[in-house]
């Protein structure tokens, strides 16, 4: 049996969920999500340091989705929106968790996996150097920051990027990324 998106989505909805969404990732959606999560963090009376980290990481996570999401073939659009993505922001005892999920073509899995593994293997100083190198040497594309997003997330959170690739069908995998921001 192929990977079940709905089962996966309900599994993500654990802990104290500030925001859960599945559907088309548009610019307006990103604005709405940011507004909701910002006001929910006010309710929790988070320190401005935590609020800023969560907000920053959320912006990068959502815009990564926005820029890199696959436009799905028509046959899949019956079941999913054409820019289909999943987002769940939850607060656990000692950390925030931002989960994003999206379809990715088979041919792109290895490149992304290698990139994340490389980032996860790097020290804080190495990440800083990599960030500055990309910033200074790679041109900005229409697709955003030219690969800075994941490096920035790793730098700001200081945590490993947890990910899985689940096989969906012959053409697509479903990519899930969990990002953690420690409260202390």
């Amino acid at each position: 049996m192929s990977f079940d998106i709905n089962e996966y989505y309900s599994r993500l909805n654990g802990g104290d969920v500030l925001m859960a969404f599945k559907g088309s990732i548009s610019s307006e959606l990103i604005s709405n999500v940011l507004e909701v999560v910002e006001s929910r963090m006010d309710e929790y009376r988070e320190s401005s340091k935590i609020r800023k980290k969560v907000y920053n990481v959320l912006v990068e996570s959502l815009q990564n989705l926005y820029h890199h999401i696959e436009v799905l073939p028509e046959v899949m659009q019956k079941e999913f929106d054409d820019k289909f993505g999943i987002l769940v922001v939850s607060r656990q005892d000692d950390r925030y968790k931002i989960s994003t999920g999206n379809f990715i073509g088979h041919d792109k899995v290895d490149v992304l996996r290698n990139k994340i593994d490389k980032i996860n293997s790097m020290s804080r100083d190495e990440l800083k150097d990599m960030y500055k190198f990309i910033l200074n040497h790679q041109r900005l594309s229409e697709k955003g920051g030219g690969g800075l997003g994941l490096v920035d997330i790793a730098r700001k959170t200081g945590n490993q990027l947890d990910y899985t690739f689940e096989k969906f069908d012959d053409a697509y995998y479903f990519f899930n990324l969990d990002v953690f921001i420690d409260l202390a």
Partner: protein, 126 residues
Amino acid sequence: MEALSIDGTAKTPSVKFDGQEGVIEIKGRSIPENSIEFYKPLVEWLEKYSGTPLDLTQVNVQLEYFNTSSSKCILDVFKKLEAIHKGKSEVIINWYYEEDDEDMLEAGEDYESIIRVPFKMIEIVE
């Protein structure tokens, strides 16, 4: 030359470039999905200003948030300022950050290490 003035929005900063006073300000949030479009007129304005800059140009950058897409465009702005500074004109970049915002301070230090213009890191205490 004519001043450049743009009001801030939820995703883009307010901009005040004043060639008469030699004061350049970027304030607020810079998190648009497409930052090239937003920053294009800023870079173009600086290109014109670099023809006849004042002896001293003060740059105030006070960002609450910026995304990685903006970070490259901000570097482009700073590169224009670096070119002005290389000439006879002096440029100072004042980089503001809130007192507990180490990430924003570090972001300023990243730019400082890339751009050959004097930076002043200014902590905003509430």
